[in-house]
Symmetry: C2
Subunit: 723 residues, 2 copies
Amino acid sequence: MAEAALKREATPSAGAARKGEVRRVLDKVKAEGRASLTAPEGKLVCDAYGIPVPQEGVANSAQDAAKLASGMGFPVVLKIVSPDILHKTEAGGVLVGMKSAEEVSKGYETILANAKKYKTDAKIEGVQVQQMLKGGTEVIVGSITDGSFGKLVAFGLGGVLVEVLKDITFRLAPATREDALSMLDGIQAAEMLRGVRGGEAVSREALADIIVKVSQLVSDFPEIVELDLNPVFATAKDATAADVRIVVDFEPHEQRHRPAHDDIVRAMNRIMRPKTLAVIGASAEDGKIGNSVMKNLINGGYKGQIYPIHPKADEILGYKAYKSVKDVQGEIDVAVFAIPAKFVAQALTECGEKKIAGAVLIPSGFAETGNHEGQKEIQDIGRKYDIRLMGPNIYGFYYTPENLCATFCTAYDVKGKVALSSQSGGIGMAIIGFSRSAKMGVSAIVGLGNKSDIDEDDLLTFFEQDDNTQVIAQHCEDLKDGRAFAEVAKRVSKKKPIIMLKAGRTSAGAKAASSHTGALAGNDKIYEDVLRQSGVIRARSLRDMLEFSRGIQVLPTPKGENVVIITGAGGSGVLLSDACVDNDLKLMSFPPDLDEAFKKFIPPFGASGNPVDITGGEPPKTYQNTVKLGLEDDRIDALILGYWHTIVTPPMVFATLMAEVVEEMRSKGKVKPVVASLAGDVQVEEAAEYLYQHGIPAYAYSTEIPVQVLGAKYKWARGAGLL
Amino acid sequence: MAEAALKREATPSAGAARKGEVRRVLDKVKAEGRASLTAPEGKLVCDAYGIPVPQEGVANSAQDAAKLASGMGFPVVLKIVSPDILHKTEAGGVLVGMKSAEEVSKGYETILANAKKYKTDAKIEGVQVQQMLKGGTEVIVGSITDGSFGKLVAFGLGGVLVEVLKDITFRLAPATREDALSMLDGIQAAEMLRGVRGGEAVSREALADIIVKVSQLVSDFPEIVELDLNPVFATAKDATAADVRIVVDFEPHEQRHRPAHDDIVRAMNRIMRPKTLAVIGASAEDGKIGNSVMKNLINGGYKGQIYPIHPKADEILGYKAYKSVKDVQGEIDVAVFAIPAKFVAQALTECGEKKIAGAVLIPSGFAETGNHEGQKEIQDIGRKYDIRLMGPNIYGFYYTPENLCATFCTAYDVKGKVALSSQSGGIGMAIIGFSRSAKMGVSAIVGLGNKSDIDEDDLLTFFEQDDNTQVIAQHCEDLKDGRAFAEVAKRVSKKKPIIMLKAGRTSAGAKAASSHTGALAGNDKIYEDVLRQSGVIRARSLRDMLEFSRGIQVLPTPKGENVVIITGAGGSGVLLSDACVDNDLKLMSFPPDLDEAFKKFIPPFGASGNPVDITGGEPPKTYQNTVKLGLEDDRIDALILGYWHTIVTPPMVFATLMAEVVEEMRSKGKVKPVVASLAGDVQVEEAAEYLYQHGIPAYAYSTEIPVQVLGAKYKWARGAGLL
């Protein structure tokens, strides 16, 4: 029913009509210079959008009152309507809990009599009959306006305890019916809505309907900056907002400039995979940033044209040098800046005149040091000439498919499928160090620094269409335009996993973030919910981001939820099971035939069921047989291996055998994610590396990381609708 | 007042009297073959222990009733007392909410009149006057009996929402007043008790008083297996249990055998640091377990006497062999078993006759394969001859101060201060591998396997008095005697940090644990709370246990809560701040003079406050100055360093300088924990190792682990009452 109502009201003419009604109310509020709506105005707005509020009407006779009450359903409240009676209750002008037409009829007379007794000459306009809300579950539906994400719709249970526990969930507005339904499951106390201890389950459709309508309302009217339906009474058949509060702000807000999708793609392609590149401030002198950049470009093996720009030099490191980009013949795609901040604006203007697509602004000395004017100046130049700016205050970037190291950091050339970016230079260095140490292939590493222009959603837009990139990992401290990010991420995450390490999660972290970049870190719960809504996998720590980047890119996508643990160490099996629960993985419950099939390969005292405990001291054959079975049986979707180092099956014997089995089965079309936990002496480290190189993320001395990595892949696959 | 009441009742005679009253009630219940108490019996028990229940009395006149009511306070409920009137309400025999003496007086007459009207010849015994509980916060106080931990007292808020959120907390009974108060803070919704939204705070003393009394009651009477006070109405001045439910079980339960403390110490010292040692099943043949054990003993450098036991050989690996331990002249401290399960009982009997203190039972084939009888048999032999059994089904143990490797695994000889144990062999191998790889010194590694006898609390008792051990880390899947463990852990953790990795935390993990060792994993919330109550640091994953073991042993104990982050990378500062919040560390808020003092050393655009952001690209001197200041100023208690790899301050320059500064300040008595997060290229790995070797736990590519490790040390220090 709620759905039908929603559809009906979604027709264009109904939409225009309801918008017209709300517009009239808001115009009046604006004309009167108010910042909030009165209760009757709130009710009008709710009525216009079909948000259920208590029914009410004014009766002028006992018969009228009974009829009105019968129409809205019992019980009702009766209230005297008289400009001369301010204290209704004192005057005996209020009766609650009227349960029948007869009671209402009598009540009408009583109230009238009381009123006359109270004030003989009172002008009586009638008796208000109002539907009395009772029972049901009290919930809150609301909306706020966030600096980064814009309009958000919120949902939570009513009551003080929920406030104490901060059990509330957010989605971007407008929210779809699916979003709204996911909110009902998105609170800790979700079970309350499903009916507890014999209590009735609430109508999910009715609640979702209200959430969707609220989200539509605030999206249609940006001036509604806050809205609260508190409480909403939800029952098994409906939901009604007992109280409405709406706060407005008619000041127009500056919209962030957002280039069109195709313009982003065109510019980012010229920047990330340039045919020609200028180094402004190129230098032959060791130790200078402009020298490091030149060397990295040359030694990295970049095949495009390099133009060193230097005020005096004729030649730098064997390349003909120019005084200005304007002196270069032919097109330049991107300019890498390695000059002090104070010279940037002038050089950038020349880049603009030269129609260069992007400027990689390594120099620091802008907003991060308090030089906001300097940053604004270069932003304005960028906009004027349509040059996209990366940075300032960055290490530059790497794009390995083109052997491009446009950075002063050490070169990196291990090609892989993950593109990483960081807002901070330190984190960028950690990415490079970890990648090198863990032999992780990357497609790109990008520094975003002050994000005066290019930000996370520009990168997503580029990597979306970049076939060299299959996974995207981003470290950020804020999102300048969370809404744009969410929009792009929602689309991109359907195709490629996006991992985000959002720093400044906690208020202490947020404080540090704000002193660092002048960025105001948003409410973390909003980030949490919106990132999930956008299909983004959230990393909780730097190591998680790095491990996810490394592991997810080699794991095939699972086809179903059935995870099986095969372990030589029972103790690892227990810890791996714990980790499965922690990471939302479902341990498959075995049908009898599958249990029997596994049992055939393991000693009689091995544990049946899942985990498959093959017991310690088993030969390679036992691992081989059970893992093969796990890969062959189509009911199983993913494997977690627990290896126990023994003389009978040494680490490298295990590793080579597992790589072989997995490869063999993959060639037969049995492509499933497999991860491994290795318990043993130091030789397991070599085995872990070998397994990783053969597509099996494997970890020494850890039962947690392999499962976290598999869990992250699953989280992505679920978010992308692949499961 | 509640405290005074508690003290008064704690006098021996009062104690005896109240016990006598409860005993009489329980005897009656037992005699009548009941499993639970009636409501009046429950009230008697509560009265005996001073647990407040609603006051009541029977009045025989209106005057009486008014007097009674005035004594207990208004409002009250009046109820007819008559064996002839079953349906009191129907008879007009109940009046609620009587608010004054006058109302009560009138009410008495009304009830009597109604009763007579209802049944003329009804025998009226009087009118019950009962205190009417209202308002306040509804909470639950209860007690359960756990298989491993015994009597536990529980506390939570009342209501369905709390049930859904499983927001309840446990402590071992009897609980101290301090334990009880900690329970009020131990629930997620603790804020509710402190008064929310203008609501009144409840009386913490009154609630703690009830918790303590309940815990005392169930400890005094083991037959009370379950108790529920639900709800308890808590107000600003008192707390009253509105309903009491008590379940009893008079079947005596088998008590686990627990040797006396001194006997444990004596036996464990002979086992862990034996002067003489027999290897039963010693072998000269490569690949045999008895051969590996012999070689590890010899090559490990064990200086005690080794007696190989073998049915036929005269000599094994240069040591004279014996047919039985009984053939050896002189005392043998410990026997390491390397023979098949079926021969163990016979050899163990001989060990008993030889008065050997302990048997290290490497053989598998006991309870873990379903051979429970076999395990019972050796347990009985152990008890008969007073031999302590380690295992069976273990890898043996290492005790590095004696160069003792009583195991078939590879030798390990890096001496350090942490003693680790594991229930599982696989986890034992991971401990060895990690230790070797991370250059972690250990004092002991012990396998506990099936824990037929020696368990975690025996090890704690030994390590408590072992000066070579300063930190204890244990992996377990269950605690056979959680109560004994908690008792010992509570004492030991005051002196030495205890880290526990409890596997089978989740229901899936618990299932795997149960199939693995036949152990029933307890309710994890109970483990969580009791471990905290016992001062144990809980590790969430294998890596956490290993990293805590490695890091905590080199960190000095902090003297206060003021933590300061000094970072070269602002981005690391944000992530380190997040981690501080996650790990309950308090970022010191700087007094102005301290802020000024730091500012002197950093560039003008560096962030003031905490984190101290010295900004990237600073020379070694800046790190040196700021860290020195951090160590010198007595208001600062711990430092977290965030290093950013630059050409200006390369990793090893940073590492050697930091080690120097910390060493210099330590020599001046400025001993503070310092941890470091290193962001940079692979050279930071060498720097991290160098720093660790110099007492600064440091981690490459991680902002989380250093803070977790420091957080674990703090958690311990707080639990031990050192902060």
